[in-house]
């Protein structure tokens, strides 16, 4: 039966393709999903949103019985196309997987077997479900690859996942999921870790699949993505549904406070100058703005090359120039590999530029000896994406911050912890026992210990859930207001950069392609690349409001 035929049939009977009632899942007596119910009709897309640990993935995987042997699942009803799944035997589950339900995981680098060729991976569901002879399977693989927009399918089929870009890998994964034309496609964070432009392409691909009548269950933490694709939304929190309804309604007029907070927490052009986390700013006098013409850090024509493993030189940063004024935030935005991090490293004088120079507080910075830099170093500090690896694994939080304070005994560990909104008793704990947001606060506290003039942030919130991200971003705003610290803020997330930055650099392939105030660059981009970048953003609800 072809899919349009199936679509017509489904629409005619108006029977839901997926129906779940009173679903609960527990692991070792620990309930992860509780009393979840939903139905989904053919050709529609249901998005399950929530932060990490909300139970959204577990809920979706129930439809494939992929939660592993440790899972304890109870439900009044789980139906797929009218078939009761609650009493299915393992063999029957295997017949269902891949044939009636396709499953796309995030991060295709590890979701495709790195030792097997792309063609073999896509052919696997065909082989498992006895789809024709070998030749027919190979033919079908090529069809699928072109269907999902992979160029040169013959070549790609013979390649390994590591030889493909992230976007192509994700397409291949979708091709494998679509191989047997399943009724339902579950896409679990299909665009996370992809660059904005690639993300847009993948979302387009899923939209096409929906148009062809596939029913899609989309799992995402990103409401922007959801907005783009989903017809209905389930908002989950701590294993329970807090709100559900048509996408536009839920996003524009969220009823549940949790949903409201979640939406408010998303940074964008329109959130600039507002609180994301819903908390009040601390009552401190803002540091007066320094004169407009003062320059804290100046980079002039810096370039950096590396020798690749094949012996070829590749330039990572090419002739980049910028200035940072005291107390302002300069954002650098760009896709992966655009040279943002190397630029930050050169600014920190941790990497020596091949050409060009950096000066700090009107003194030479990149060209002097490390010995001479050392006394100045406390004035410029850094916070990375993964704070844990930047902490000495032997030390407690108190020791980590205390070490950074040594010699600059102006404030105490307790004061610094208080500055970043952490309780004093955290000082005795080990970073391993802290949450991601807490760790990042500790890293910020350490960076503040030397009362720096400039703080460099390299993707500081990329690994955080949106509500935690909101808190950290608010914290950064507060700290800047209080101490007058200048920020060099690097992120791939345009919303975050826009929210926080006064001025913005857009980087591509090691070069600065556009520069200006944040509002200029994001509302009236001049360069085609910046335009493309912004165009690829999923539609933002705020812009519609």
């Amino acid at each position: 039966m072809s899919s349009p035929a199936r679509l017509r049939e489904s629409l005619a009977t108006a029977q839901p393709v997926v129906a779940v009632e009173q679903l609960s899942v527990g692991f070792h007596g620990h309930t992860v999903v509780k009393d979840v119910s939903f139905t989904l009709k053919a050709g529609r897309c249901l998005a399950i949103v929530g932060e990490s640990g909300s139970g959204k993935s577990v809920t979706a995987r129930t439809l494939l019985d992929l939660n592993g042997p440790g899972a304890h699942t109870t439900a009044h009803r789980i139906e797929l196309g009218g078939q009761d799944l609650t009493r299915l035997r393992p063999r029957a589950w295997r017949r269902l997987r891949g044939r009636r339900v396709g499953y796309v995981l995030q991060d295709a680098l590890v979701s495709l077997d790195p030792l097997r060729r792309i063609g073999a991976e896509i052919a696997e569901p065909l082989r498992l479900h006895k789809f024709g002879p070998r030749v027919a399977r190979e033919q079908r693989v090529l069809e699928l690859l072109s269907e999902v927009g992979v160029p040169e399918p013959e070549l790609r089929a013979r390649q390994l996942p590591s030889q493909l870009s992230g976007g192509l890998r994700q397409r291949a994964l979708i091709a494998a999921a679509l191989a047997l034309d399943p009724q339902v496609l579950i896409a679990d964070e299909p665009t996370t870790a992809l660059d904005t432009t690639v993300q847009a392409q993948i979302l387009g691909l899923l939209a096409t699949a929906k148009q062809r009548g596939r029913t899609i269950v989309l799992i995402s933490h990103d409401l922007a993505v959801v907005q783009h694709l989903a017809d209905e939304v389930l908002v989950m929190c701590a294993g329970q549904i807090v709100e559900s309804g048509p996408t536009t309604r839920v996003i524009r007029a969220p009823e549940h406070p949790y949903t409201q907070r979640l939406i408010a927490a998303i940074p964008s052009a329109h959130t600039k100058g507002t609180r994301l986390s819903g908390t009040r700013p601390p009552d401190v006098a803002p540091t007066p703005k320094p004169p407009e013409d003062a320059v804290l850090l100046r980079a002039e024509g810096i370039s950096k090359h590396y020798r690749g493993p094949d012996g070829r030189e590749r330039s990572v940063v090419q002739e980049v120039s910028f200035t940072i004024r005291p107390g302002e935030t300069l954002g650098i935005v760009g896709e992966s590999g655009s040279g943002k991090s190397t630029t930050a490293s050169i600014a920190l004088a941790l990497t020596e530029p091949d050409a060009g120079s950096v000066s700090f507080a009107n003194q030479p910075w990149s060209e002097i000896r490390e010995r001479d830099r050392r006394p100045v170093r406390r004035r410029i500090s850094v916070v990375y994406q993964d704070p844990l690896s930047s902490f000495d694994p032997r030390h407690t939080v108190g020791r980590i911050i205390g070490d950074a304070l040594a010699g600059h005994g102006e404030s105490t560990v307790i004061e610094l912890l208080d500055d970043v909104g952490l309780p004093a008793d955290i000082a005795a704990r080990h970073p391993l026992t802290l949450s991601g947001g807490q760790r990042q606060r500790v890293a910020i506290a350490r960076a503040l210990a030397g009362r720096p003039d400039l703080l460099v942030f390299d993707e500081p919130v990329s690994a955080l859930d949106v509500s935690v991200q909101a808190q950290v971003l608010d914290l950064l705003t507060d700290l800047q207001r209080e101490h007058g610290t200048a920020y060099l803020f690097i992120s791939h997330d345009l919303g975050v950069v826009h929210h926080l930055s006064d001025r913005v650099l857009v980087m591509k392939d090691g070069r600065v392609v556009e520069e200006g105030t944040a509002d200029e660059v994001f509302t009236a981009p001049r360069e085609p690349y910046t335009k493309a970048l912004l165009a690829a953003l999923p539609e933002r609800w705020g812009e519609q409001a």
């Binding site: 692991f27 992860v32 992929l66 592993g68 006394p375 406390r378 500090s381 990375y384 690896s389 694994p393």
Partner: protein, 284 residues
Amino acid sequence: MSVLTVPNAARTRRTPLHSAGFWAALAFGVLVVLAAAVPRLLTGRDPLDIHLDQSFDPPSVAHVFGTDQSGRDVFARVVYGAGQSLLIGLGATALGLAGAVVLGLLGGLGGRALDAVTTRFIEVLYAFPGLLLALILIAVFGNSAGTQVIAVGVASMPGYARMVRGQVLAVRGSGYVQAERVLGRGPARILVRTVLPNAFRPLAVLITLGVGQAIVWAAALGFLGLGVQPPAPEWGAMLNAGRDYVQQAWWLDFFPGAVIVLFTLSLTVLGRAVRAVTEPGGRR
């Protein structure tokens, strides 16, 4: 345990303190150390005293591990042998580690050229099966307990050296060393306060595991008749002596061997426990 990483599900890590194996290993380890320190506490018999009328008595209440060809009590010999074997194991491990730390630090901290030279040297040594290296040294220096320690020590050196070098390099390239640089710390301070302590963190585990390995190697040499000579009660030498009587007096080889196995096993278990405690991030 689920195949998938379960978000927020309480993943209780089994601590060593909850495992019966850990306690058994600890108890046995303590017993062996006790035997090495105060053998009199465990046996009233003299390990060298002969009783020709009691030769080859099988294990009994009077002689729990039986007696040997001269009527000496095997249990007493095993107990007294603990000191010798432990000394050889510790001595060899100390020697191996000392050499390895020098080599590893040269490789990990020296310049590119020095690293290349030491790394090649380490790799050359590493190309030799440990026991073979030990045998070569014994061939050259002759056969004695001292040579046994040196041979086992040198044989274990390349393995340690590789690990120390790798560890130093890993720590040097780590985020927290970079964080120290950003704080404006000098290289000497970073080396002493951060690189070395972190690079040597796994050494506690290595020593625990290494002593066991060294004892096995030393016993292997003893088994080949090299090293400590009879009648000294050393485990390897006892194995060698018992080998000739294995068909009629199995207990001569069985018990010293079993004690070596149990002891190394205990050290392995304890080493893993130490690792679980000192490296909360998990295995390397």
